[in-house]
């Protein structure tokens, strides 16, 4: 496990190199866009669920190149790693990116993949692997990530204990505007680690004066000043130490420590009068803060050095009272944590709407268990444990909802079954009847088509006769037969009439043949349209019929299996939640015990100092001086 400095650097690195918002410009896949929407809101479980499903489907299809995700496939592979990392699934993160690195893709794509993999490995606290990934970057690096790559490389060197290499890289990065502050501070730290103390202090001095409106840059500037001031104080260069502490923002996270340190710089320089100002400001601040508590002892100490013993005694008395009250608070906090209230406060929904919800907890009057834990809660290890606890709580809620969902699914299936089962036999019987009628008509149509096709090669006008014409031709045939059998007086005249009539019909059939043939084809096309509509209705019916059965059949086994999996997962989550909660409570109580011991020590010291100051005040008065 690495030291605190490593964590500090990692924190800095991540703040600076954090993935910029993914833009779905020219979006082709809506579900990929949906995953980004979830991720942009910090809902990484939902984002992963969506993206995993999309990627799985993409890899399952026969022709992935035709799938809409193909257009975003690289971004999707990179994003899934980012989401996994942000969802604190370090063990799984990076698999998709490794696959890109090993795939047959262009070098710029490989370079970006290597950078992203390095970032993941660094966040996983595996700097050796991060460096190995960075070494896979070859040729031209995309401009949008080139500074990030070098900044990450410098941080990896620092984590590996190679500060000289880090210095070299960071020197080149000093002009990178987006990393302003971070590169300056890290260069100072790298120089310190490399043993170049004078240059390191000059660099930290420079980093402590960077002008920027950005909150993160202001925070890194404050941190530079605190580190610089601390070194100056240790080196007994009090004037420069005070100068550095004075540059720290008065409302920032380091302000209390800066005020305390300024006072100490003054006291160390034997300027007790000057120390009264920062410490006087500090004691008015939140009484649970360690720096404020120390100032409550330090301020009367300065007064006593100025021989204002009466004021010192008064302030020591106030400090004694406040330490007593704070001890009660610490004890109340410990009792409250033991009663399980700390964990309840941590999972409160309404405060989690705010990014600084852990800090806000302290402001809630009904969460005394959190008053003393802000610093602890801001620590990296505690944050990991806390986030895991919150993630487990989130999974527990999801699993409970899913458990309830199975009952709803089963109810739905039961109702569908009850609705369709009595209906389907009648529907099927009716369908079979319609199906046979339809088949007859389709056969007729096929027959007609065949006949028309035949006519095209061997014209047969009679086949295109109308119904009336066919009746007339039949009557003429019957008359001819009758005439032949009767054999009357004037058969020739009658036969001639019949022949004439037949001739008229034959003439008409032959002369109108082309028009009739055209009309017949038109009619066939019209029939084809109707047949097509009929077939569509038929297909729709068959699908609807299948869907009816699919809406309630075949779900028993999957639901049973999923129900078992959910039950098992819930059991597992409950166990882990209890263990994680216990660890959090134990760490919190440990922290409170430390604060308790420190307050007790302060109390003893204040109690003694009160008496001492009163004694001195009395002596002073007796000797005619100012008490």
């Amino acid at each position: 496990m690495r030291g605190p400095l490593h964590w500090l650097l990692m924190e800095m690195a991540l703040a600076a190199v954090a993935a910029r918002p993914s833009m779905a410009a020219d979006l082709r896949d809506l579900y990929f866009g949906e995953a980004l929407y979830q991720a942009n809101q910090g809902q990484y479980f939902d984002a992963l669920e969506r993206l995993d499903a999309e990627l799985a489907q993409h890899h399952r299809v026969d022709q992935p190149e035709l799938d809409s995700l193909q257009y975003h496939i690289r971004q999707a592979d990179f994003s899934v790693g980012d989401f996994e990392l942000r969802y604190r699934m370090h063990l799984r993160a990076g698999r998709a990116i490794k696959a890109v690195l090993d795939a047959d893709v262009d070098q710029p794509v490989k370079n970006e993949a290597a950078y992203r993999l390095a970032r993941i490995e660094f966040q996983k606290d595996q700097p050796e692997d991060a460096l190995h990934a960075l070494e896979r970057i070859q040729g031209t690096v995309p401009v949008n990530i080139s500074d990030d790559v070098e900044f990450l490389r410098a941080n990896v060197y620092l984590a590996l204990g190679r500060p000289a290499d880090a210095v070299e890289v960071l020197r080149r990065l000093q002009s990178a505007e987006r990393l302003k502050g971070f590169t300056a501070y890290n260069l100072g730290i790298a120089l310190l680690q490399a043993g170049h103390t004078p240059e390191a202090l000059r660099q930290l001095d420079k980093a402590g004066q960077i002008e920027s409106g950005a909150t993160v840059t202001a925070a890194i500037r404050d941190k530079s000043n605190m580190v610089l001031g601390s070194f100056m104080l240790r080196s007994e260069d009090y004037a420069h130490a005070e100068l550095a502490f004075d540059r720290v923002h008065l409302e920032g996270p380091y302000s209390n420590l800066a005020l305390l340190s300024t006072g100490w710089a003054d006291v160390s320089a034997h300027d007790y009068q000057k120390a009264l100002t920062p410490w006087g400001v500090l004691i008015e601040r939140d009484g649970t803060d360690a720096a404020v508590q120390e100032a409550r002892l330090a301020l009367p100490f300065a007064y006593s050095k100025l021989r204002v013993y009466g004021r010192a005694a008064l302030l020591y008395g106030q400090a004694l009272d406040s330490f007593g009250k704070e001890l009660e608070k610490v004890d109340a906090s410990t009792r409250s944590i033991r009663a399980g209230n700390f964990l309840k406060a941590l999972v409160r929904e309404e405060i989690k709407q705010d990014n600084l919800w852990v800090v806000r907890l302290r402001a809630l009057p009904d969460t005394p268990e959190t008053f003393y834990l802000t610093e602890l809660m801001a620590s990296n290890d505690f944050q990991t444990a806390l986030q895991n606890y919150l993630d487990m709580e989130d999974l527990r809620r999801r699993l409970i909802v899913w458990q309830g969902g199975f009952n709803a699914f089963e109810d739905l299936i039961r109702l569908r079954h009850a609705n369709y089962e009595p209906l389907l036999p009648q529907v099927d019987a009716h369908f079979r009847e319609l199906d046979s009628r339809m088949r007859v008509r389709l056969d007729q149509r096929d027959h007609l088509q065949k006949r028309l096709q035949d006519i095209l090669t061997a014209p047969r006008p009679a086949l295109l006769a109308t119904a009336d014409e066919r009746v007339a031709l039949e009557r003429l045939r019957r008359i001819e037969t009758a005439l032949r059998q009767a054999g009357g007086a004037e058969p020739a005249a009658e036969e001639a009439r019949v022949q004439r009539l037949r001739g008229v019909l034959t003439w008409r059939l032959n002369t109108e043949y082309p028009e009739r043939l055209t009309q017949a084809h038109k009619n066939l096309h019209a029939l084809n349209d109707d047949v097509r509509a009929l077939q569509e209705r038929y297909t729709a019916f068959v699908r609807a019929r299948q869907a009816a059965v699919h809406s309630y059949a075949g779900y028993d086994q999957p639901i049973r299996r999923l129900r078992t999996r959910v039950d098992e997962a819930l059991e597992h989550v409950d166990t882990l939640l209890a263990r994680q909660g216990h660890v959090i409570e134990a760490v919190a109580i440990d922290e409170l015990n430390t604060r308790h011991q420190r307050l007790e020590a302060y109390q003893v010291q204040a109690r003694y100092a009160v008496a001492d100051s009163y004694d001195r005040a009395l002596k002073e008065r007796a000797s005619g001086g100012t008490p």
């Binding site: 496990m1 605190p4 942009n40 499903a53 799984r92 601390s230 340190s261 444990a385 100092a609």
Partner: protein, 202 residues
Amino acid sequence: MLAYDSNAVSRHSWAASRGCAALRLHAMRKHFFVVMSALLCICARTSPADESARAQMKGLDEQVQEVKSDVLSIAAELNQLEEKLLYPSDTHLAVFVMLAHGETLRLDAVRIQIDGRPATHYIYSFKELDALRKGGVQRIYSGNIATGAHDIEVSVSAKLANGKDYTQTEHFPFAKEIKPKLLGVMLAGPDATQPGIHIGDW
């Protein structure tokens, strides 16, 4: 940590205590440096107890990651089941909402009606709006409709960059076929290159 404890105090006489001011200063300074170092994470060293707690946390962390993987795989299977059961492909309709690239419109609400019937009315939080502005796409509606011709009405309530109210309503016809129907609604303010509401078939 501190030079004094209660027993020590009781042993001290008042006379002897006078000589202890320097010692107190030393103790306080020493304590100050300890507190400062810890708060700045400069040179704090972890104790064996810390290491043990950290190892315990790491072990738990790995188990948590395994559970997350398991639950994600359950979620995937459950999604498939839900989709099959509630939104079969032949009737599935999904409507997505996105903002045009670089759009500064402050979206308040979107209302969707399908064939004249209300489908959804969504009011956006700041976080959701921010997610849309960063290129995210929101699935605003999932439902079922019959195959054939339909009509969708999209109404938008928003505020422009200059603080003025902006409302817009558009109708779009669409056809539902056998396959799932995905409609993407692109929103843009009046100053955009393609202002208004646009719908695309995906």
